[in-house]
């Protein structure tokens, strides 16, 4: 699938997200929208998966370490055929398996996440398992930038470099905001690129909403002997003009008017499943 088509579909998934969150009355709108182009590029253009056989041993592994961005993840899994899109109606409803953070009872979800700082360690284990098993699949881990304050991330960063896991890609959704405000005011992350480099990673920075650049990055990974880190610069709540860049939308649901304003901004008529 080409970058333009992925960008178009990403906006449809954004419409899924705001619809899910509006129906549920709660959800992590901001981070789900900032990471949606990255997720869409991965699911529509990069990951080697078999939705009808979710545990196919040679599948690429994807981990949503920033588990609170679950809405976009679920919308993509549904659209790719891991479960019926109509099930998105049950998001955050009592008893549903589509809950507020990823759980691996949902086909396509590898492991439960939600507490921050866990995903990269698990990703190191998957990539190391592939190396030791001479398996060709890659492992991709999407993290939030605020999440990088968790010490376990840096334990995993050391291990990934130590084991020279060039089959591991860490992606940072660098939207610059966390629940209390800007990442730099909460706990400064910069110089982030230098930190990852110092830990032994092959670091690239890109526009996290440029599907063409993202596709080129993932398909062009060449460096051997080092794990890869993509710092993807994004805008929190991307696609909703009234919410973009506002930390209040980290965990906030649109009302009905905002939902329709969102559809208009996304150039989407609505969602078929709702």
């Amino acid at each position: 699938m080409n970058a333009g088509e992925i960008a178009r579909l990403a906006n449809h998934r954004r419409a899924d997200v705001i619809t899910m969150v509006q129906r549920a009355g709660n959800g992590h709108t901001g981070g789900a929208l900032s990471s949606l182009d990255i997720l869409s590029v991965l699911y529509y253009g990069v990951l080697n998966l078999r939705p009808s056989e979710p545990n196919w041993p040679n599948r690429d592994r994807f981990l949503l370490s920033k588990g609170h961005s679950v809405e976009g993840y679920l919308a993509l899994l549904a659209d790719c055929g891991f479960f019926p899109v109509e099930e998105l109606r049950t998001f955050s409803q009592a008893g549903s398996r589509l809950i507020g953070h990823p759980n691996n009872k949902v086909p396509g979800v590898e492991i439960c996440t939600g507490a921050l700082g866990h995903g990269l360690s698990v990703g190191v284990g998957m990539a190391l398992g592939a190396k030791r098993g001479r398996d060709a699949f890659r492992t991709y881990v999407l993290m939030g930038d605020g999440e990088l304050a968790e010490g376990s991330i840096w334990e995993a960063a050391m291990a990934g470099a130590h084991y020279m896991l060039d089959n591991l890609v860490a992606i940072i959704d660098r939207n610059g905001l966390q629940i209390s405000g800007s990442t730099e005011s909460v706990i400064a992350l910069e110089d982030l690129s230098a930190k990852w480099r110092a830990f032994g990673w092959d670091v690239t920075e890109a526009d996290g909403h440029d599907t063409s650049a993202l596709l080129a990055y993932f398909h062009g990974l060449q460096t051997k002997g080092r794990p890869h880190c993509l710092i993807a610069h994004t805008v929190k709540s991307k696609g909703l003009p009234f919410a973009e860049g506002d930390p209040a939308w980290h965990h906030k649901a649109p009302n009905a008017d905002q939902l329709h304003a969102g559809y208009t901004a996304l150039n989407v008529e609505g969602v078929a499943w709702a």
Binding site: H118, V124, E155, A156, A159
Partner: protein, 326 residues
């Protein structure tokens, strides 16, 4: 009486199994020495992963390896795994149902002289409260060997706690072992003694002391703390007096598990013997046990006191508890 260290028995068995099964992995956290994994690491480097002093990361790595079809055993001090990485155990292993075995070595007060930082005396309470996790405390080296063989084919997350030093054999070689099925080692009708881990041997010795005083005790090895073998405990309560013995804080461990069951199903006079809820006396584990009466003499004394209390207490009726009619 022969003695052996459970952790040595574990590593010996794991190495033997791993030579035949390339999916069996051992992970360490700079704990090759404490977990006795040096030989494994040398002989099977492709099945060994050193994670450094990073217990949280190590549990996550184990979960990732399990996702790729490996069967990881992560081996290091119980005090660090059970607390430092308890969230990873909860989410990456138990919630996610990852096929990972945690081997917590030097548990309880094995590191008694090193101070409270190195005591693992809350681990059972923590691990028991995590849904989906199996919790096991083997009694000796022979049982550890049988347990390790069982774990290699068991699917699902398990927390195992064992001690550091040599302990007397409770079992002959190749004892029968089933997860969740307690072993009744001795039968007596006056009092039931239920123990786990290194306390099982002391408890058998206790029964001998009590027999000299005309008191016949049932002795049960409750090696699996979760899932708990409820039937064997309910049967044991028929004696009318139950003493639990564990190398653990008196809160949340074996005694609490038994008391919770009996209070709801078959109220029974009980004593919970373990380590008090305080910063513990330090010394070798034998010295710590002596200090707190976790010895055959101390356990026997507690059992006798319980039998006396039971005799002196007024009889009362308790619905569903047929054995209270004296």
């Amino acid at each position: 009486m022969s003695k052996q260290s459970a952790r040595i028995a574990f590593t010996r068995t794991l190495s033997m199994l791993a030579r035949k099964d390339p999916r069996l992995f051992a992970l360490a956290t700079d704990s090759r020495g404490s977990a006795a994994l040096d030989d494994f690491a040398r002989e099977l480097p492709e099945q060994f992963v050193e994670c450094g002093i990073a217990e949280q990361n190590a549990i996550g790595i184990a979960a990732g390896l399990a996702n790729t079809g490996k069967k990881p055993f992560i081996c290091g001090p119980a005090c660090f795994y059970s607390l430092r990485s308890s969230e990873q155990i909860k989410i990456d292993l138990a919630y996610s149902n990852s096929n990972v075995k945690i081997i917590g070595v030097s548990g309880g007060v094995s590191y008694g002289a090193l101070g409270a930082s190195h005591h693992a005396t809350q681990d059972v309470a923590l691990m028991r409260a995590i849904p989906g996790l199996t919790v096991v405390l083997p009694a000796d080296g022979n049982q550890t060997e049988a347990l390790t063989r069982g774990l290699a084919s068991h699917i699902g997350p398990v927390y195992v706690r064992m001690g550091r030093g040599e302990v007397p054999d409770v079992y002959e070689k190749d004892p029968p072992f089933t997860l969740g099925k307690a072993n009744v080692l001795r039968r007596g009708s006056d009092v039931s003694l239920i123990a786990c881990g290194e306390m099982v041997y002391f408890t058998l010795e206790t029964a001998k002391l009590l027999a000299q005083n005309g008191i016949e005790a049932t002795v049960i090895d409750m090696h699996t703390l979760k899932p708990l073998d409820e039937e064997v405990i309910l049967d044991a309560a028929a004696a009318g007096a139950v003493v639990s013995i564990e190398e653990h804080n008196i809160h949340g461990g074996l005694g609490s598990a038994i008391a919770s069951l009996l209070a709801q199903r078959r109220p029974t006079f009980m004593r919970i013997l373990g380590l008090p809820d305080e910063v513990l006396y330090t010394g070798t584990s034998a010295q710590v046990f002596n200090h707190y009466g976790l010895t055959p003499q101390g356990i026997a004394q507690a059992a006798k006191e319980l039998l006396k209390v039971r005799k002196d207490e007024p009889v009362y009726y308790c619905a569903g508890s047929e054995h209270f009619s004296q």
